[in-house]
Structure formats: structure tokens, C-alpha cells
Symmetry: C2
Subunit: 616 residues, 2 copies
């Protein structure tokens, strides 16, 4: 029953040979790999304005120059990553690049940072997607939907998680439609808005409830830096293409690099356009209505009608796709870490549907936890976000610097200077992010990353130790065959006992003892009385147990036997009857399981379980 | 670690031989067995008045005649139970009496009714005890305590549950003090109150907030019957003495009967006294302040001072003791049912501290569930209560009628008429209860009782079937010793594999096969390459698994082998390495466990687990 429910949810198992790798052309690849990066325009401008608002309405004018600075940073990072694409045509994630060039510890730091960021990508993107939908609903007369934001977000995580457990094979087509609708919609909105402003036909945003302007802080460098840091979330996802190079059509690296340039061009245009429009149309983060900046601009530009609706729905969809990107990245990185023995090996095994099921489950659980904790408010989560990305940028670019110095391939000096600039810039931004966001939640990430690294190392130590202990290089010669001694545990004289006794006699014809534990004197008398009819040739030993424990008297007895026949191979035979239906297990003491666990794990004994299957 | 936490909570294990039976004199026995019955005066009057209030303030005058009727019923039931005590000196619970005289089904019905009622006893008594404390706190200037009623009630259940898991040995002394303080306190309150009213010194109750009088229903026979039904909760617990006869000093039956008479006298006096005072002092159930009727009377009689405080604290304590009575009764009845194979046998085994731990845990969980569901409001739970008790009264008295008819002992005609009257009267009241309380929640109990009976019977059928299948009466002669065939499952060539291979060769020197499953072709190549160094004399079979499943290819292969060597005893040998620390299990696939479960439970194969213990 449990099994058919699983089949219904995630589908039939897929054979290993059907593992296939779809090759993507540039247009499809742009859709598949850029949803994470492009979708960040849905919240990046709002994140900047939400900080600037603290300095009063006059500070909002700084939004555009800050967005300009971030766009410059974006271009530098993109050029930097083009180098990585050419150097690592098989996929150059930060973990691999940092690990190979800087060493194990920097690699693990990059991995920890990325894992945390992938969880945040899911939580932030899904929450922002829900905000796009509730903003839409608010303008169509259903403002109450905003109070179910957490529930809707959790439902989205469940759906995306299940889709990924099924395995998203049809990726290309599914991604292309909403991504291009989003790109076209946002670019049209910008063009229309700009035209409307110059023609004087578009008026500033009308708020249904006036937003509070809480000018609580002095406008100064600190606030500008904080606003800049908040906007840096626009850069998340830029690294996605460099992870996915093998999925491109040949020539892979060249196509990937071109796609990266396209993406950065589109992303920069959308980000600057939205920020400019927000400034001119006086779009302001509004805590009372929870309406997003993009929604405010879109309805002001197009009016509450079909075009506005399409933009909001496409925004929500591309944000869900962005979350879906993390569902590809997190399990893959976790499987790489597991393969290198830094995470439990369960993360490296593919489930029924050829996907890394455990990574998908863990990602869903953590993202759902964040959504609940932050009440699906993506702006509140942003201080935790982006730090991981910039840490991985810095380590990855730093790794590329060493790569150039070591490989000295043609044109390495240009590459060196590009990656050097990239590493220094992203490193400086990382420090700015860490300092300005520290008290707003970033401290948690800064504590969590070293903690994760310690856990990775502890796990690694364990696996290395196990491998050492299992290694045959120190193994002794195989021991000669040994005589067998069998101890049969008997709980009563019944049909389940007989096969166990027979097996015991077959394997140790002259050295079998039956043992029972005295929990109830009356019951023991019954056993003794019937013993002769069925097991008389095997001696029966009754162990006393004053505290009604099964385990301690038994272990004591086995130790005694073990030292008496120390040249023999001692085996404990456990007769167990197996009910006809699984739920009937509840009606029986799990004595067999408890005994077997104690005998194997505590005493290191070989245990023979002899089942007696009941028919009904 | 888990084990030492358990020791801290419930103490060291107790040896079976220390099981002791304290014999109680009548004074102590009254305290031990009557807390349930006596404590019901804390809410019975209030339950009557809460119903009458629906008929308007004028209807409250009917409280006293209704209480008189219930007291008459109490005397009849008590006289009836004196018969049971003499007929069943070893303890005559309703389950035993009904089972023996009326048959299995009536016995099971009585048992189901009683189990439900014990859960309600805990929930109602603890909630009423908390109400006594919050009423006290309200009069001492802490009315906010009432809003934590649920939390306090859950804490009480936790404490009583833990105390019972430890085993309450010192029962006599612990019970005697609060019970007698309660009896003396309530009787003093009645005497003082009656005197004050006749002397004209005691004034009616002053309410801090005027209670709402919601005269929503016409006063008629229906309302009177409902009030009567509500007051019948005063009779719960009357049967406790007849369950506990063996605990009395000799002559047990006579002493028990005398104690029962004392108890009924005290209970009747307190119940009538409180109801009379409530009438004269205009004490009314007050939903706004949640102050109990007893608290209203006590503070009006004695003023808010030390005497009032003592009465409230003693009321709370005796109510906790009443809950504690259910903690003795529920696990004992469950163990009787488990012994007779109507409940899972886990209920019949004594834990470390010689108590029926599973019954205690189940009772605590269900009672906690009720407290949460009803927000610790005991008056709201009462419609569910008492039905079970009256059903068990009726069945028990009916059983006694048949007992007299069958045994015809001296004076059987008197006994017959007494028990006949008891059975008829309690039967009529049962119908009144069921009809009047049906829509107020009693329907749930009336659904639950037959459901429980069906579950009892299903469990019984299962155990009987198992016993039949295990019975040796149809067993064949022991089979001759068989040749052994061993299949060793190999996941890699390492130190953990070697002992398993050695054991396999020891027990089936000429008939061992090693089997591995191809989940990763590279890994299989490694195994093949190293196989010759370590296991060359044993053939290695590689099973293909297109869906990466371990189980199905293995089961298929074993079936094939089994039919090839069908005269042999086929055994599957499973090498398993055992990590040095339990948490390290998380870092390894639980392949061993999964395989063993499938091999034993699905295929019915004998499985030999060969552990290889890691040292660090």
C-alpha cells in the first residue's frame, strides 16, 4: 500500500540505462540556466528601496546609482566566469574550482556556502513568487489571499519537491515558455513605461493604502552600503551556467560563454529599467498592502488588466523555476560531497527515478522551515542571502587566479587580470555584505558555514577510519575452517522452534545448546515438560533474570560459552515467526529485533535468524 | 545516554521477587479506594446546576431533589456491590463478573466501557483539580492562572504518569492525608455553613462578575432528566473497592463491604450537603470567572483565608488521587485483556519497575488528548463520562443475577432481588444517560464501545490463529538433517567480507556462492579484480539490476537456487560492519537491515548476520 502510494506520487522506477542527457541550444539553455539570475529582478530593486526608505523619501533617489554599481559588478563577475567556463568545460562549480586550486578547506567552505544559499534560493524565490500572486490578487479584489502566503509557499515547495522526485525530464520546453514571457513582459513594461513617462501619459503609482515612511536613520555611507548589499542579491544565480556547461550543444564552452553574455545583458537591462521606473513612478515598498514594486510599476504602466496579469503570473512562474534550479544544484553538490566522503553516502545514491532523492528531500525540509520561520517574507530573508554566493564567487575566482598561475595557458595574463579583479571586487563586496548585514541575520550564516565545514570534516574522518579498518592491506591470512557451536534461543516449544532446532543440528551436529530465559516460572515449567517430546537430544539451559531483562543474562551466558569453546565459531540461532500481515507485527513483542540488535551490535556475535512464516 | 535519562526519570529496575502486596486496614483502604468516588462531589453538584441553569434561575431549586434521587441510586448500587464483594473475594471487576456469568461479548463490552471511562476519569479529575487551584488563585488575586489551565493539567498528567511508571509503593500514607483532610474539610464546611444559615450569619455568595443567566430552554421533564444524568457522575468510582478486595486485611470481603458502606455514607452526606448549601447560598456556575461551586461555598462560609485555602488544595489533591486510581485500574484491566488475548500482549508485560508501563503510557496519551481537545473544561467532558460506568454497573449486576441463579448459595433469593433491582435501576439510568446526553457527545462513546469490542475480537482472532499455526499437535516428524547451501552477499572485498566467507565455508564447505549486485559497473570491476586474491575458491555471481534495486534481483536469484538445490537448507549470509558509535549508523546505508527484512519477511529465508565490529 505504501509502495503504490509512492508510485502514484513519483511514478514508476526508471532503468539506469535510460539516464539521458538532453543537449540544449543557446535559446533553451538561456531559459534553463538563467531563471535564478533573471528572477532576482523581482525583488532586488525592492530590497534596495526598503533600506533606503529608512533614510526618508529623499534617499530613494540613490536607488538608481546603487543599481548602476551593482550592474557594473555583475559585468565584472560575468567576464570572470567566462574564464571559468573555458577552463572547466566539464562544469566548474565553486566547490570543484576552489577544491582543485586552493585546496580542500576552501573547497569545503565554498560548498557549505553554496548549500546554504541553495536553501535560501528556494525559500526566497518561492516567497517572492507567492508575493507576486498575492499582489495580483490584491489588485483583483482579493487582498485576503496575502494572509495565506505561508500555506501557499509550503504548497509550492511540496509541488516543486515532488516534481523533482519524479525527475523533470521535459526541462527545456517547461522552462522556455515562462522565462521568455517574463523577459518579454518586463522589457515591454520598461519600454512602455519609459515611453509613457516621456510622453507624459503615465502617472505616478497610486497606493491603495499610503505606505509608512519611517525615516528612522540618518542618510550616510552606512545606509548606502546597506542598500548596496541588499541589492547584491541580483547577482545570485549568475554562476548557474558555469555549472551546466556539459548540457550545451557543441562547442559547449563557447555556447555557454555566449549564453552567459546574453543573460547578463538582459538581467542588467531589466534591473536598471525597473529601478529607474520605480524612481520616476514613486513606487515604494508598502508593508500595509504587501504589494511588490514590480506589481506597482506594472499596474501603473498597463492598468489592472490582462497585460498586468500576464506579467505577475510570469514573474511568479519564473520565481518557481528559480527555486527549481536550486533543486538541481543542491542535490548535485550534495552528491559530489558525498562521493568525496564529506556527506553521508545516502546523498550520492540515485532513487527510483534516477534523481538524488535524499538531497531533494533535505532541501525541501530546510526551505520549508525557513518559509515558516520568516512567514514567507522574502525581504526579511534577504540579509541571509547573497553572502554564500559572494563567498563562493570569491573562492572560485581566487581559484582561477591560481589556475592561471599554474597552467600558464595562452593568454593567461589577461585571464589572470580578469579573475584577479573579479576575486578582489567580490571579496570586497563579501566583506561589505558580512559587515552591513551582520546584525540583521547574516551572523547566522557566518556561524553556520564553519559549523558545516566541521561536520563535513568529521564525516570524512569517520569514512576514512572505516576504510582503513576495512582495508585488506593489513588483513591476516584467512583462518582455517572452525568447528561450529550453536546456541538456539527458545521462547516456547512450538512449530516456530522446530526449524531452528533442525538447522542448529544440521550445522553443529554435536554441539547445540538450547537456551531460554526465565521471565515467568509457570511458563518455564511448561517448556521443560514439553521439551523431551521435541528437543530431548539438545540440552536446555534456563537462565534466571531477576530484573525481567532478556539481554543481560543472555550476553553473560554467551560470554561464558565463548570462553569455554574459544576455538569454535559461536553462532546464536533465533527462531522468529513472521505474521502474515505487516500490521500484525504490532501485536507481538519485537523481541527478535531487540535481541538481534544487542547480539550483533553490543556483543559482535553472528546471529542466524530462522523465520517461520505464518500463512494467515 | 538514553538509558541513564530513563533511570533518572523512573529509577533503577526492581527485581521480580520484590513484588509485594501491602495489606490495608479499613481506614487506609477507604483513602486508597475512595478518592475517585469522593472527589466527584467536587463537580457533580455543579454539573446538575449547569444544566438546570438553562431553565432559568427558578429551576435551580430542583437541584436538591435531583441530588436526593441520585443519592438513593448510590445506596442501591452500593448494596448491590456488597453482593459482588462477597461473591468475588479475589476481586470482581465488571469485566470478570460479566465475562464469567454473561459470556465473552458482555465481558468485552464492559471492558471497553471501563477503559474509556478510566481515560475520562483522568481527564475529568485532573481538569477539575486544576479548576480548584485556579479558583483559589482567582480569589487570591491571580485570575490569570485560569488561562494556563491546559498547560497545568498536562503537567499534572505528566507527573502522575511518571510517578506510576516509577511505581507508587508508598500508596497508603500518600493517599490517607489528603483524603481525610478533604473529608474533614468538606464536612466542616457543610456543618459551619448549615449553622451559619440557621444563625443568619452566613450571607449568599457574592460573585466578582455576575454570571450570565441564559434561560434558553423550557423547564420540563427533559431538562430534569438531563440534570439528573449530569449528576450521575457522582457514582463514578463506587466500583473501585470491589476491584481491590485482595488488598484488604483479613477477613477481606467483610472489611471491604464495611469500607464500602462507610464510603457511600460519607459520599452521600457530602453530595447532599454541598447541593443544599449551593441552593441556600445561591452558588451558581460562573462561566466568566470559572470559579467552582465548591470554591464559592467555601469562601462564603469561611472567607478567603487559611481554611478556604486548605479546602481548595485538598480538593485538588484528592482529584489528582482520583486520576491516580485510574492509573491503577486501566493498566490492570488492559493486562487482563492482554492475558486473555484481546489486547496486544505488550500490555501484559511488567516494565523495569514492575508496573504495566505500556498501559500507563497509553492512558496518559489519551487523557492528555482529551484535556487538549476540551481545553481542560471538566464540565464539557462530563456528557462523555458516566455512560461507561453505568454500562459496566448494569452488566456487572446482570452478571450477579445469573450468578445467584446458577450458584443458589445460601440467601441467594435476597441477593437475587438486590442485584436484580440494581441491574434494572442502573439499566434504566443508562438509557436515560444515553438518550439525554446523546447529542452532547455521548454518541462518540456509544460508537467507540462497539468499535473497541470489534478491535478486541480481531486481535483475539489473530492470536488464536497464530497459536493454531504454532501448535505442535499437527507438527510433522522432525526432518532429517539436511545439507547446507550458503549464499554470501558481497558488497565489496574488504575485511568485513572475510569472516562471512570463512563462516560460509565452515558450514557448507563444498556449496558456497558469493553474490553481488551490479549498481555501478566500475565498482563491480574492482570487486572482480580483487576477488581472486581473497575469495577465489568461492564462485562470484554478479546480478544485474536495471532499476538499481537490491531486493528484486536477489529474491529472483534465490528462488532459482532454491529450486535447483531443493533438498538443501538454503542460508543467506550477510556480512555487516558495525560502527563504533551508534550515531555513525546514520552515515551508512541501512542496506543490511533492508535486505534482512526482505529476505526473512518476504522470502522466508534463513539469514545469517555476520558482524564485523569497527574499533573506532
Amino acid at each position: 500500500m505504501a509502495s503504490s502510494f509512492k508510485r502514484l506520487l513519483i511514478g514508476k522506477p526508471i532503468a539506469t540505462e535510460h539516464q539521458h542527457h538532453e543537449r540544449l541550444n543557446k535559446v533553451t539553455a538561456l531559459a534553463v540556466f538563467s531563471s535564478d539570475a533573471l528572477s532576482s529582478v523581482a525583488y532586488a530593486t525592492e530590497a534596495i528601496l526598503a533600506v533606503l526608505l529608512l533614510g526618508g523619501a529623499s534617499a530613494l533617489g540613490l536607488g538608481l546609482p546603487i543599481a548602476g554599481g551593482i550592474s557594473f559588478l555583475l559585468v565584472v563577475v560575468a567576464i570572470s566566469y567566462r574564464q571559468t567556463i573555458h577552463a572547466y568545460p566539464n562544469g566548474g562549480g565553486a566547490y570543484i574550482v576552489a577544491h582543485e586550486n586552493l585546496g580542500q578547506l576552501p573547497g569545503l567552505i565554498a560548498a557549505a556556502a553554496l548549500l546554504i544559499d541553495y536553501v535560501l534560493t528556494v525559500a526566497v524565490s518561492i516567497s517572492a513568487g507567492v508575493a507576486a500572486i498575492t499582489s495580483l490578487a490584491g489588485n483583483w479584489g482579493a487582498p485576503w489571499l496575502a494572509s495565506y502566503a505561508v500555506e501557499i509557499a509550503l504548497l509550492c515547495i511540496l509541488i516543486v519537491g515532488l516534481a523533482n522526485l519524479r525527475g523533470v525530464k521535459e526541462s527545456g520546453a517547461v522552462f522556455a515558455v515562462p522565462t521568455y514571457v517574463f523577459i518579454v513582459g518586463i522589457l515591454a513594461m520598461i519600454a512602455w513605461g519609459v515611453a509613457g513617462i516621456f510622453l507624459g501619459t503615465t502617472q505616478p503609482v497610486v497606493q491603495s493604502i499610503e505606505p509608512e515612511l519611517h525615516a528612522g536613520e540618518a542618510l550616510g555611507l552606512w545606509l548606502v552600503l546597506r542598500a548596496f548589499a541588499a541589492g547584491c542579491t541580483a547577482l545570485t544565480g549568475v554562476e548557474a551556467i558555469s555549472n551546466g556547461i556539459p548540457a550545451f550543444k557543441q562547442p559547449e564552452a563557447k555556447n555557454a560563454a555566449t549564453t552567459l553574455s546574453w543573460m547578463v545583458g538582459i538581467l542588467g537591462t531589466m534591473f536598471l529599467g525597473i529601478t529607474w521606473l520605480a524612481d520616476r513612478l514613486s513606487a515604494i515598498p508598502n508593508e500595509a498592502t504587501h504589494e511588490t514594486i514590480v506589481s506597482q510599476i506594472a499596474r501603473t504602466t498597463f492598468g489592472v488588466g490582462p497585460v498586468y496579469t500576464v506579467i505577475q503570473v510570469a514573474t511568479a512562474l519564473i520565481l518557481v523555476l528559480a527555486a527549481n534550479t536550486a533543486y538541481a544544484d543542491f542535490p548535485r553538490l550534495a552528491s559530489l560531497l558525498a562521493r568525496d566522503r564529506f556527506l553521508p553516502r545516502q546523498f550520492s545514491s540515485r532513487g527510483d527515478r534516477l534523481v538524488f532523492s535524499n538531497g531533494i528531500l533535505v532541501l525541501s525540509l530546510f526551505a520549508a522551515g525557513l518559509v515558516v520561520y520568516f512567514r514567507a517574507n522574502e525581504i526579511a530573508m534577504l540579509p541571509l542571502y547573497a553572502i554564500g554566493v559572494f563567498l563562493s564567487f570569491t573562492l572560485s575566482q581566487g581559484g582561477m587566479v591560481l589556475h592561471h598561475l599554474r597552467e600558464k595557458e595562452t593568454g593567461w595574463r589577461t585571464g589572470l587580470s580578469i579573475n584577479g579583479l573579479g576575486a578582489v571586487l567580490t571579496g570586497v563586496v563579501l566583506v561589505v555584505l558580512a559587515v552591513t548585514k551582520f546584525t540583521h541575520g547574516a551572523w547566522a550564516v557566518l556561524v553556520l558555514i564553519p559549523l558545516l565545514v566541521l561536520i563535513f570534516q568529521a564525516i570524512h574522518t569517520h569514512y576514512v577510519r572505516v576504510a582503513e579498518q576495512l582495508s585488506l592491506t593489513t588483513a591476516d591470512k584467512p583462518q582455517p575452517l572452525r568447528r561450529l557451536t550453536a546456541v538456539v534461543l527458545v521462547s516456547g516449544v512450538h512449530k516456530g522452534t522446530l526449524p531452528a532446532l533442525q538447522i542448529a543440528k544440521s550445522l553443529a551436529p554435536d554441539n547445540v545448546t538450547a537456551v531460554t530465559i526465565n521471565l515467568d516460572p509457570e511458563h518455564i515449567e511448561k517448556i521443560r515438560a514439553r521439551w523431551c517430546d521435541w528437543g530431548c537430544d539438545v540440552p536446555l539451559v534456563v537462565l534466571e533474570s531477576p530484573y525481567r531483562s532478556l539481554i543481560s543474562p543472555l550476553l553473560k551466558y554467551l560470554e561464558e560459552i565463548g570462553s569455554r569453546y574459544k576455538d569454535d565459531e559461536l553462532m546464536v540461532i533465533l527462531p522468529e515467526f513472521v505474521p502474515a500481515h505487516w500490521w500484525e507485527h504490532l501485536l507481538h513483542n519485537q523481541t527478535g529485533l531487540i535481541l538481534r540488535t544487542a547480539l550483533m551490535f553490543r556483543a559482535g556475535k553472528t546471529v542466524i535468524s530462522v523465520p517461520y512464516k505464518l500463512e494467515r
